[in-house]
């Protein structure tokens, strides 16, 4: 059985992980970045299909790969919000944002916001949003890398996080966007192959169809309709039916909307569309990206049904063996009617456990906690254990681990790019040190990438509390801040800087407060940290808006910053009174923190428009720029008769 003295699973896992990492490094060396164009946008010459693949890998994170099928398996219909939400956003991107942002032709999202709203303050607000969203997100990816390493290669989480971070750093620093793009193409191939192989085998075993999407609507091998028998079984065991949800309709609606709009507003997704040669390619590329994403996203709900059915069939009412639980050697003799060997193997990792509490020798899987004997059931099990559940060879397990790592690393690299460009390009070159050369900017970008990785390593090893709320934060904030500002910037010429700043700030603050109140709770320390972050933001604003904001405005900013600083100090010292965490019955209109981005977005739209119409129209050059980005051709221009200034829409 053993190869070179180690178990086959460990052998294949190590082989796949080392080989794929070697490929990523090889690509990085080949695709070194020489100019800022290469570094930020891969020289604007990535083929739309390749960019689609890279976008798919960038987009699908450790959570999409490892957790999503499991979440759907447990939540049934409620899991649909992730499926629709994380794909529907690409329609918004392709129709409303990507081609116009590509025609605009700069490097970053804050670039667009700063230029379109002719304002350093708007640029700084955008930088702050981009940094906060990306840091929340990257910490989760690093954690995923660490867990994959520790579960399968038996190295400590810390070491796993550091190894993963060094690989990402290597190709991000060396190759910038160019290196990241081509490694992401390779990573997409690894992750989709790794996801599909076990899914196809599972579909064959359970439904007889090699296509999981057909298995989804098909019958089980014994001829009974799969979904209906799953509904019946679950109801008998006391669970709600798989095709019924438990969430309120308004909440499902709000979450799906927040995820869709948030997807379209996420900076690491948007910048991928800056790398294609022209505006029409940005549209095509979004279509290709969604095809590549849809392959996994339409397979995952099928895997969810197979896994949940299979789990109940093989585990519920199976004979529990204490001997097999304690001694791996005894697991070879397990047969029909026994709790399967994979259950005991995963029990060893702590992700799964059972206890025969009523002493009948069988394991009961029930909704009622008093009767349920499956005492520990981690949702990630369903993807990770699939190869073993399906009785697939050890190399498939190794492949799945390599796939999970590819998903986590590709997303981390995209986020790293946003952080590095936000610091070097937007903050340093455009705001703080305007005289920088290209060479200096590249150096700062690389230093910023290193610094960001160090922070990500720390956050991956000691995950801060907000990482658990990453979905709510990243998508809610992107939906409530970036999307309205970019959308109105393209489609409403009259939108001005006052409207944009007010809208982004309101959306950001209100959404963040709601999420913190209901997901983390405002303890004195949390209040202190929030006030500290806000104070830092105000200090950057004060330095960055010299010449734009007058004396009274600067005084006001200084007073607010000082007030926040004092609040931060009091909060961190524990002097402030805290608030209890909000409960679900206090939700606004019954909308959960995950869905609140929709409300924040609506609010941001209203404030942006109201403030815009009450303040002066944007300058002529800016309105002309909006016309230019609406025309894909670089050579066609709208001819204006000089004496006839067109009224703003």
């Amino acid at each position: 059985m053993d190869i070179m003295g180690i178990s086959p699973t460990l052998f294949w896992t190590a082989l796949f992980v080392i080989t794929t990492f070697g490929v990523y490094i090889g690509i990085a060396v080949w695709a070194r970045a020489a100019s800022t164009d290469d570094f930020y946008v891969a020289g604007h010459d990535v083929h739309p299909v390749f960019n689609g693949m890279a976008t798919a890998a960038d987009w699908m994170s450790a959570a999409s790969f490892m957790s999503m099928a499991g979440i759907i398996a447990f939540s049934g219909y409620d899991g649909s919000v992730y499926l629709m939400g994380w794909t529907g956003g690409y329609v918004l991107l392709a129709l409303l944002l990507a081609p116009y942002l590509r025609k605009f032709g700069k490097f970053t999202v804050p670039d667009f916001v700063g230029d379109r709203y002719y304002s350093q303050a708007a640029r700084i607000v955008a930088v702050i949003c981009a940094l906060f969203i990306s840091f929340t997100y990257i910490a989760g990816q690093m954690r995923g890398v660490g867990i994959a390493f520790s579960n399968f290669l038996h190295v400590p989480i810390e070491a796993g996080v550091i190894v993963g971070a060094i690989i990402v750093l290597f190709y991000a620093v060396l190759g910038g966007m160019k290196g990241i793009t081509y490694t992401q193409v390779a990573q997409y191939c690894v992750l989709i192959f790794a996801f599909m192989v076990p899914a196809i085998f599972l579909s064959l075993q359970i439904t007889g169809s090699p296509i999981p999407q057909l298995g989804f609507i098909g019958n089980a091998q014994d001829g009974t309709p799969l979904l209906q028998s799953l509904d019946t079984t679950l109801t008998e065991l006391g669970f709600s039916a798989y095709t019924d949800g438990s969430k309120a309709m308004i909440d499902v609606f709000a979450i799906a909307l927040a995820l869709m709009v948030g997807t379209a507003g996420l900076p690491h997704v948007i910048i991928r569309f800056f790398t294609v040669p022209k505006a029409s390619d940005a549209r095509k590329s979004a279509g290709w990206a969604l095809i590549f994403i849809a392959i996994l996203y339409t397979t995952a709900p099928a895997v969810a049904i197979f896994a949940r059915s299979n789990f109940i069939d093989t585990v519920n009412e199976s004979r529990w063996s204490v001997e097999a639980a304690n001694d791996p050697a005894a697991r070879a003799d397990l047969g029909e009617g026994d709790t399967p060997a994979w259950f005991y193997n995963w029990r060893d990792t702590g992700l799964l456990n059972a206890e025969d509490r009523n002493g009948d020798g069988l394991i009961q899987y029930r909704a009622d906690p008093a009767e349920n004997e499956v005492t520990q059931l981690d949702r990630d099990i369903f993807v990770l254990a699939n190869p073993e559940i399906g009785g697939l060879p050890a190399w498939v397990i190794g492949l799945v681990v390599a796939g999970g790592l590819a998903a986590a690393l590709s997303t981390a690299a995209g986020l790293l790019m946003v952080i590095s460009s936000a610091v070097s390009h937007d903050l340093c070159r455009k705001v703080l040190f305007k005289g920088m050369s290209d060479t200096q900017e590249l150096l700062v970008a690389r230093i910023a990438a290193v610094a960001a990785v160090l922070v990500a390593i720390y956050a991956g090893i000691n995950p801060p509390g907000f990482v658990a709320a990453v979905v709510a934060f990243a998508f809610g904030l992107a939906a409530a801040s970036f999307f309205p500002a970019i959308f109105l910037g393209i489609f409403w010429k009259r939108m001005n800087k006052q409207g944009a700043i007010a809208g982004m700030a309101t959306g950001l603050v209100v959404t963040a407060l709601y999420i913190v109140h209901f997901k983390i709770g405002f303890s004195p320390a949390v209040m202190g940290v929030c006030a500290l972050l806000a104070a830092i933001a105000f200090v950057v604003l004060i330095f960055g808006t010299k010449g734009e904001v007058g004396g009274t405005g600067r005084l006001l900013l200084t007073v607010v910053a000082a007030g926040l600083g004092v609040t931060a100090l009091l909060g961190l010292l524990g002097v402030l009174p805290g608030f209890d965490m909000g409960t679900a019955d206090q939700w606004f209109l019954g909308i959960s923190p995950e869905g609140f981005g929709s409300v924040g977005m609506a609010l941001s739209f209203v404030i942006s428009i109201a403030v815009s119409v009450m303040t002066p129209a944007p300058p002529r050059e800016v309105q002309d720029m909006v016309e230019e980005i609406r025309i894909p051709s670089a050579k066609a221009h709208v001819g204006h008769a000089p004496a006839n200034p067109a009224p703003a829409e």
Partner: protein, 104 residues
């Protein structure tokens, strides 16, 4: 419906101006197309998958209730089609008004 481009004689080869009326007509056609496609986008996801799910669940596709199928499969397929349809139709509109980026 929309007027033909007026200043198209420059062709996509060289720099050229398009008239303001032509630009407005181009943009209006784009917005109409977008509106139609976004209506479909809304109908297959928020409509079929959420608001009218209970009604659609009385029908089924294979062994899956139709509303549930739209929420977990159908909406995603339609999303993909929508993007490619937009890409193709938008390209036609752009050529009609001589603002396409075929030559850069």
């Amino acid at each position: 419906m929309a007027e033909a481009p007026e200043n198209g004689e420059g062709g996509a080869q060289g720099a050229h101006d398009i008239s303001e009326t032509s630009f407005k007509a181009y943009w209006r056609e784009n917005l109409t197309l977008m509106g139609v496609l976004l209506a479909i986008w809304f109908l297959v996801s928020f409509g079929a998958g959420i608001l009218f799910r209970d009604f659609l669940d009385q029908f089924s596709i294979g062994s899956a209730p139709l509303g549930f199928w739209f929420a977990q499969q159908g909406s995603i397929y339609v999303f993909v089609i929508l993007i490619f349809v937009y890409s193709a139709l938008m390209h036609r509109i752009e050529r009609k008004y001589d603002v396409d980026d075929d030559q850069g």
